[in-house]
């Protein structure tokens, strides 16, 4: 494969050995080119493999034939203008789209090699392993401690109920240990360690979002999906969250949707670009995609010509 740039027209062409160069246009990218641009070779295992994913909301074709492999223990960013299917795609990975009555999903999503869109899949178990942080912080109207202990308690891993206390089987010590660990991992411990029994709704926006991340960590997921986690936050809180994500990627696989391209460039290892109509147009190493995108539409988006 070789690459040429025509200095007069600034047109990029990618020439494969066996094919004619396909020049980009402002319209839709044809499938073969797209497949070439979204094929991403990486070392290591794919944590999640998506093949030919189509999503319809009623008659609206929200995602068109997306295929992608997500490497483990790294940060994958999904960028693109609003309304082009990034959040829809993210919600397919933990089957949260099932909650929407008009949604229809075709295609395959494999998590550690197991297909998650087949009969007999235990959704509860799936969502234990694939965690999610939402765009607007959504802490429960409970105390900070209870928010973090919620997941393990509901899964039966922690029992601090009345009966357990009566029978002296309470896991209160383990619970407090878990709460501290998760809050430290989410860089929130220092700010709230002295008021763990206060209502979580009393925290600031940035703190609430970090609490949601801590809550997500409490069930020990393998993948963390983040849907524009910092979009509702101020720059300082955003910076804290970005640092946090970099740390998280050492242990977890992180997939993050963001409309902030600089953020994607800063924190992700690989970037996927979705453009209008629910198309995945390009996917590859972050540095490469930002410095040297194959697609002209992607280049236009990145340089701010639209979106």
């Amino acid at each position: 494969m070789s690459e040429n740039q025509n200095p007069q027209t600034n047109q990029r062409t990618v020439t494969t050995t066996a094919e004619q160069p396909r020049t980009t246009t402002a319209g839709e990218t044809d499938e073969r080119t797209r497949d070439a641009w979204t094929a991403y070779d990486f070392d290591g295992d794919a944590k999640m493999t998506v093949e030919d994913l189509d999503v319809y909301y009623g008659d609206d074709h929200a995602l068109k034939g997306v295929s992608m492999e997500i490497p483990e223990r790294s940060v994958t960013a999904l960028i693109g203008p609003s309304g082009c299917g990034k959040s829809t795609y993210l919600r397919c990975l933990n089957r949260m789209n099932d909650r929407i009555p008009s949604a229809r999903i075709d295609g395959s999503v494999r998590f550690d090699g197991q297909e998650i869109y087949q009969d007999g899949v235990n959704l509860v178990e799936l969502r234990k392993r694939v965690g999610m942080v939402f765009q607007s912080p959504n802490p429960f109207p409970k105390s900070i401690r209870e928010n973090i202990a919620y997941g393990p308690q509901k899964h039966g891993d922690l029992d601090t109920g009345l009966l357990a206390r009566l029978l002296n089987r309470s896991d209160a010590a383990e619970r407090d240990e878990l709460v501290e660990r998760c809050l430290r991992d989410a860089a929130l411990w220092d700010e709230v360690h002295d008021r763990l029994d206060d209502n979580a709704l009393g925290l600031s926006g940035g703190q609430q979002q970090r609490l949601c991340i801590a809550r997500c960590l409490s069930v020990d997921p393998e993948i963390i999906l983040m849907d524009e986690p910092a979009s509702a936050l101020d720059p300082i809180a955003t910076a804290k969250i970005e640092d946090l994500i970099a740390d998280l990627a050492e242990e977890y696989t992180v997939v993050i949707v963001t409309h902030n391209m600089q953020q994607a460039a800063r924190i992700s290892d690989q970037t996927a670009v979705f453009l209008t109509g629910g198309e995945l147009v390009e996917y590859g190493d972050t540095d490469r995609v930002f410095e040297d995108p194959h697609s002209e539409r992607v280049e236009d988006y990145i340089t701010g010509k639209f979106g």
Binding site: Q114, Q118, V121, N122, V124, G161, L163
Partner: protein
């Protein structure tokens, strides 16, 4: 450490196992038992009769025992590893209390009656046995705790019924001053019903593999059953009234040209082609068939009068509250007053009408007092729904109108009120449905004239006259004590007399009255619900 958890829960489950099939079968058995118990309660099947070749009691007992053993087996299968399941360490306090209650009842009754230990012994027995059941539920692992005590309950109950320890002739005299006894006719179906609910719940938990999913299944079974029972209850109730009421409604029914009464339409005298004496006649000696026409006419005028009073007042108040007034003391007081009116019991409205309106309108029961009392009852509902309707008109409409230089009142009149009209109309229709069925308010203010001939139905419009003395305008028809459908039914139940020998079946007459009342009221409700649905869909599409 991410991903290093030794999970014993699979992501993808195996195909349906025999255990699943067994649990599903158990749920089916409990559903059958539920239906049989309900049928026995309503007398459709008798305890001493035979069903599928076996005496009913024995069949019920046998099925209960089988269900109980199955439940225990499901628990054991999970406990000893024959079945994949995810039980919690304990079944929890709720399940514990749930199991303890029936066992406590059994323990208490056995101690006080069978062992003759009296009330004190009964309490001790209840506490002891209940306590054991509680411990047996919460101390072991969830799969054993959820199934053991409940399965045992089913087995014991089943054996008691099928071996005749409590047979069809069993009676327990309570020995009270006002005597009462618990008979087998009551106990056997009811006990079957409740124990089978427990059985179904435990089986559903087993089907879901215990743990959080099992509890989810168990809860869903009960919640679905509850919802469907409510709908079934409604259906049976209405169907029963229809079946009982139609014969009375159609006595003397005739179809054909010239069979019906004469009426004048557009100045032409026409005989209606259908005759339904029940709704076309009153009660008179010379009638072939008696009817409730005066009551129908009474209800009609009541509703009209109440609406004429309540709708302008209510809409006016709502307009002021939403458009003119600012939130403050005054609006708060009005809100409290409206809520107070809305929650006041209907009989209190009747008392008020009696004390306030009757002395001021002819010193006796009158149609007018009834109208005004019902109007007062309808008022808060109109205020609340009109306010909601007006609040849901977007401010953009008002702003756009104001930006065009239109005055506030004009905006209200031309923009807000028309937009709020659907909501107001729907609220009024539903409110009318409610007051059309009310008896208590009209009992004290209006009720009378239950058995009058059809020709004497109250003629409101034709009775207006001017008088020379104050108050200068009178309407004797409005000041008469008249009947309305709810009161008619009440009078028939309590008095029952006065129908004369022309009514071949007084009971059918009563049911027919109930049916007509039900049809009138439910029609209003149905129309109200449909209009609300229609308007909401229109709003969604705009």
């Amino acid at each position: 450490m991410a991903g290093a958890r030794p999970t014993d829960t699979q992501l993808v489950e195996d195909e349906t196992t025999e255990a699943d099939a067994t649990a599903a079968l158990a749920i089916g058995v409990s559903a059958t038992l539920f239906a049989l118990a309900v049928a026995a309660m309503f007398g459709r099947i008798t305890l001493t009769g035979t069903l599928a070749g076996v005496q009913t009691v024995t069949l019920l007992g046998g099925l209960l025992t089988v269900l109980g053993l199955t439940v225990i087996a499901l628990g054991a299968g999970s406990r000893f590893g024959y079945v994949e399941s995810t039980p919690d360490p304990s079944a929890g306090l709720i399940a514990g209390v749930g199991a303890a209650v029936p066992w406590a009842l059994i323990g208490g009754s056995v101690a006080s009656e069978t062992l003759g230990l009296g009330t004190g012994g009964g309490v001790v027995g209840a506490v002891v046995v209940g306590g054991v059941a509680l411990a047996a539920t919460v101390l072991p692992r969830e799969d054993v705790g959820s199934t053991g005590p409940l399965g045992a309950l089913l087995v014991v109950t089943g054996l008691v019924f099928s071996t005749g320890v409590i047979g069809p002739t069993w009676v327990w005299e309570l020995g009270w001053e006002q005597q009462a006894a618990i008979t087998a006719d009551f106990l056997i179906p009811v006990a079957t019903l409740f124990t089978t609910l427990y059985g179904g719940w435990a089986s559903a938990k087993a089907y879901g593999g215990f743990g959080a999913r099992g509890r989810h299944m168990g809860a869903y079974v009960l919640v679905y059953l509850n919802a469907l029972s409510i709908v079934a209850f409604l259906f049976i109730l209405v169907a029963y009234v229809v079946v009982q009421g139609v014969p009375g409604l159609l006595t003397g029914f005739e179809l054909g040209l010239g069979t019906g009464p004469e009426t004048t339409i557009f100045g032409v005298s026409v005989a209606l082609p259908v005759s339904i004496p029940f709704v076309m006649n009153g009660v008179a000696l010379l009638n072939d068939f008696q009817g409730v026409l005066p009551a129908i006419v009474g209800t009609f005028w009541l509703v009209i009068g109440a609406v004429l009073l309540a709708v302008p007042l209510g809409v006016g108040a709502a307009v002021f509250l939403t458009e003119y007034a600012e939130r403050g003391r005054f609006t708060q007081v009005v809100e409290v007053a409206t809520n107070g009116l809305w929650s006041t019991p209907s009989i209190v409205f009747g008392l008020f009408g009696f004390a306030f309106l009757i002395p001021r309108f002819g010193n006796g029961k009158s149609l007018l007092s009834g109208m005004i009392t019902l109007g007062f009852m309808l008022l808060p509902l109109v205020v609340i729904t009109s306010r909601e309707a007006m609040l849901s008109v977007p401010d953009e409409y008002r702003d756009a109108s104001a930006a065009l230089g239109v005055s506030k009142w004009q905006t209200i009149r031309s923009v807000v009120l028309p937009a709020a009209l659907p909501g107001v109309v729907t609220g009024v229709i539903l409110g009318v449905g409610r007051i059309a069925g009310e008896t208590a308010p009209i009992l004290l203010t209006m009720a009378g004239g239950t058995f009058v001939p059809g020709s004497q139905t109250v003629d409101v419009i034709g009775s207006f006259q001017f008088t020379s003395a104050p108050p200068f305008v009178a309407n004797p028809a409005l000041l008469e004590a008249t009947s309305a459908l709810p009161y008619q039914l009440f009078a028939l139940i309590t008095a029952g007399v006065g129908l004369g020998s022309n009514v071949s079946d007084p009971n059918a007459f009563r049911w027919a009255t109930a049916l007509v009342l039900l049809v009138v009221v439910l029609s209003f409700y149905a129309i109200g619900i449909v209009t609300r649905y229609y308007f909401r869909r229109r709003l969604k599409h705009t």
